[in-house]
């Protein structure tokens, strides 16, 4: 119950990133932004979320329209299966990332965690370990890697951005060491077929996307339907208030980082099986795509806002766009990198549009005022909200 109230209140008053700084005390109303939001019809958290998700639905239809227009093969089982295999692993990693971003943190080490667990799989398999034992080791590895992030963030009190840039480098570096330049590719057939055959009866659906759907339902229910899920919103909106309301913030964050570690470690195995091999630089740069999907899904980089449905839709908009662009011959993988970066920038710029409009009005008002009163100080506006890195 308790978290519900601050969400509504703060959300309505704060359409704009409030930044990381302890500048404005919680509860102090930033009036300009609030009015801007109201004028643009963005007041109320539900109205806004529905809008974002409706926009994503439209984008999804649009993207599939482009795809079908570009090639009749777009909706073929083969192409849809390829689309699924391309997006499935990223989408699974986006789920724990959503929760981490929700509480105002970030995990840039996901791709390196994936790589280290995949390389560990390759190393152990090439040394004759049974698959079941490897499975256990990889899960334990995921727990450890996630716990390192979590401990540094919660116990030492470091910003997750800095910590996970460090572990991004560290885990990737260790992954390079595990196998060195070797490639391991003699996994048993049933595993290798994960990336070749779809789910029985649904040839267009890859196993990764099937797993993603199941996990998305679980994550969705937990996030939107349980007190624990609501507490994540509360932490993201106001850590102190959440803490005073009895939420054990450090423990929750610790749990989320471990969850992310385990999920990414398991995706590492899945990804290795899909590729049927483990080699150097596996999954490099995945963190960008995972974060793009999460932010495109309407999750605020400042925490406290977003839905699982948005992230699911964003995963398919992203995957669909990639497939649609690649199928129209003039695009290649590299061009999509640019598109993907552009999408990422757009997904943080668009929510700021009301702010830009407000500032433009403010500027015009000030200019008009200057015509009458000479001193610009007297009409000095409310300082715009903080900009800066994420906490």
């Amino acid at each position: 119950m308790a978290p519900e109230i601050p969400i509504e209140a703060t959300e309505a008053a704060q359409p704009v990133p409030a930044g990381s700084v302890a500048g404005e005390p919680p509860g102090a109303p930033p009036p300009e932004g609030g009015r801007a939001a109201a004028r643009f019809g963005l007041g109320g958290v539900f109205g806004r979320l529905v809008r974002w998700e409706v926009a994503l639905c439209v984008a999804l239809v649009f993207v599939f329209g482009i795809g079908v227009d570009a090639s009749g093969d777009f909706l073929s089982n083969y192409n849809l299966f390829t689309l699924c295999t391309n997006i499935g692993d990223l989408a699974i990693m986006a789920l724990p990332m959503t929760l981490i971003v929700m509480v105002g943190e970030i995990d840039l080490s996901v791709a390196s965690t994936l790589a280290l667990s995949a390389e560990t799989l390759g190393y152990l398999w090439s040394h004759g370990w049974p698959m079941a034992a490897i499975f256990v080791v990889v899960i334990a590895l995921g727990v450890v890697l996630g716990a390192i992030n979590g401990l540094l963030v919660t116990k030492v009190g470091l910003p997750s951005l800095a910590v996970t840039i460090g572990t991004l480098t560290l885990y990737r570096g260790l992954a390079n060491v595990v196998l060195g330049p070797l490639t391991v590719s003699d996994f048993p057939a049933p595993f290798n077929e994960l990336g070749v055959n779809g789910v029985p009866g649904l040839p267009f659906l890859s196993w990764s996307v099937a797993i993603f759907f199941v996990l998305a339902v679980i994550f969705g229910v937990v996030l939107h339907g349980t007190p624990f899920g609501r507490s994540l919103y509360a932490i993201g909106l106001n850590k102190e208030a959440a803490s005073h309301a009895g939420i054990r913030v450090p423990r929750v964050k610790m749990g989320l980082f471990i969850l992310s570690g385990v999920v990414c470690a398991l995706v590492g195995m899945l990804y290795a099986f899909e590729l049927s091999s483990v080699g150097e630089n596996i999954g490099i740069g995945f963190e960008l795509m995972v974060i793009t999907v999460v932010l495109l899904g309407g999750v605020s980089i400042f925490g406290g806002r977003g839905t699982i449905i948005g992230v699911v839709l964003a995963a398919f908009v992203y995957g669909g766009l990639r497939s649609a662009l690649l199928i129209s011959s003039s695009f290649n993988e590299n061009d999509f990198q640019i598109v993907s970066g552009g999408l990422l920038i757009l997904s943080v710029l668009v929510p700021n549009v009301p702010l830009f409009a407000e500032r433009a009005r403010e500027l015009m008002r000030r200019r008009a005022a200057r015509g009458i009163i000479v001193s610009p100080e007297s009409s000095s506006p409310t300082p715009p909200p903080t900009q800066g890195m994420v906490t």
Partner: protein, 347 residues
């Protein structure tokens, strides 16, 4: 609050605070120098050729590139932002500038440096404008720019590659040229570091960067043009990365589209190891340059004592984490010491 009750204690309090913070910051820089000294000593005991002129020149020349880019990155991080796109800027600038030798044979080297600088400034303007005017987190913007610039680089390069044979010897000799036994590059970069340090310490706009990093809101209320300063920091970072690209080209000679990818992580590691707080507001460019020197010395030391270069990345990650953990400890200690002092003065 105690100052309000006891006005006579007020003048000495900020003074002593400043002195303590100053001492700690100096100790931080001094710490790096000590670590460097110990590292060099141990490595030299294991393998005496480590302190030979050749090896020292090599390390200094390698450091030049990292220190150059780290200076710009440090200025961005001081403002509580981060620039993840520097690796891509170095790569793009390296290709574009070195390619000039192929397309315009006989072009003066100075002009090539200017081209690299221009490429970097261009990238910095775009990143800075989106971050400062768009008021969006620099982490997201520069992460996106990392991939966008790399993508543009790949398109420009295509399947091509710049080969050493197209570049004049005078260009390829830059990394090995020396004055008084010291590499030209290292000296040039030392000058850049000195200028940047002077600017940050003595110019109002330089001090503004610290103010913004300490508390962006307070800085804005104090009348500091935050957006303008942040924009400038990104442009400088871009420009220095652009120059770094030309240096990269002269060092590696063969340039592909993947040139300098992942460099940003080493640069950030250098800056943070050098004592610039990842949350802005404290640190110095001299520290950042020393951080770069330390990282490069470690790489060379590992190489000399026979540890495979495969460990480089893991070690720089570990160093980064150690450095931020250490800084956090120092920060807590200082805060506690200041609090104690305040209590004493208040009592």
């Amino acid at each position: 609050m105690s100052a309000a009750r006891e006005p006579e204690a007020e003048p000495s309090e900020p003074e002593s605070q400043r002195r303590l913070v100053d001492v700690v910051l100096r100790a931080r820089t001094f710490g790096i120098i000590v670590v460097l000294g110990v590292l060099v000593l141990i490595t030299a005991l294991i393998q005496s050729r480590f302190v030979g002129g050749g090896e020292v020149r090599f390390i200094l020349s390698q450091t030049a590139l990292y220190a150059l880019v780290a200076v710009g990155e440090a200025m961005v991080i001081l403002t509580r932002n981060v620039d993840l796109s520097v690796g891509s800027v170095v790569g793009l600038s390296a290709y574009v500038s070195a390619n000039m030798f192929g397309t315009h044979p006989g072009i003066p080297i100075v002009l090539v440096f200017l081209v690299g600088l221009g490429v970097g400034l261009g990238c910095g303007v775009i990143t800075g404008a989106i971050t400062a005017i768009g008021r969006v987190p620099s982490l997201v913007v520069t992460l996106a720019m990392l991939y966008i610039i790399r993508g543009v680089d790949t398109i420009i390069v295509g399947s091509g590659v710049v080969l050493a044979s197209t570049e004049p010897n005078s260009f390829l000799n830059i990394p090995t040229a020396t004055i008084f036994g010291l590499p030209d590059l290292a000296l040039a970069v030392a000058v850049v570091v000195a200028i940047a340090a002077y600017y940050l310490n003595s110019y109002r706009s330089g001090r503004d960067l610290y103010a913004i990093g300490s508390d962006p809101d307070a800085a804005r209320r104090a009348g500091i043009p935050v957006a303008k300063r942040v924009f400038t920091a990104f442009v400088i970072s871009g420009g220095l990365a652009g120059l770094g690209g030309v240096v990269w080209a002269s060092q590696y000679a063969t340039i592909e589209s993947t040139a300098a990818s992942g460099l940003e992580l080493q640069i950030i590691a250098s800056v943070v190891v050098g004592g610039v707080a990842i949350f802005g507001g404290s640190g110095s460019v001299v520290g950042a340059a020393l951080g770069a020197l330390l990282l490069q010395t470690i790489n060379s030391a590992l190489n000399v004592i026979g540890v495979s270069s495969i460990w480089t990345e893991a070690i720089s990650g570990l160093l980064l984490i150690t450095a931020i953990t250490l800084d956090r400890g120092i920060q807590l200690r200082v805060a506690a010491a200041l609090r104690r002092r305040r209590v004493r003065l208040g009592a």
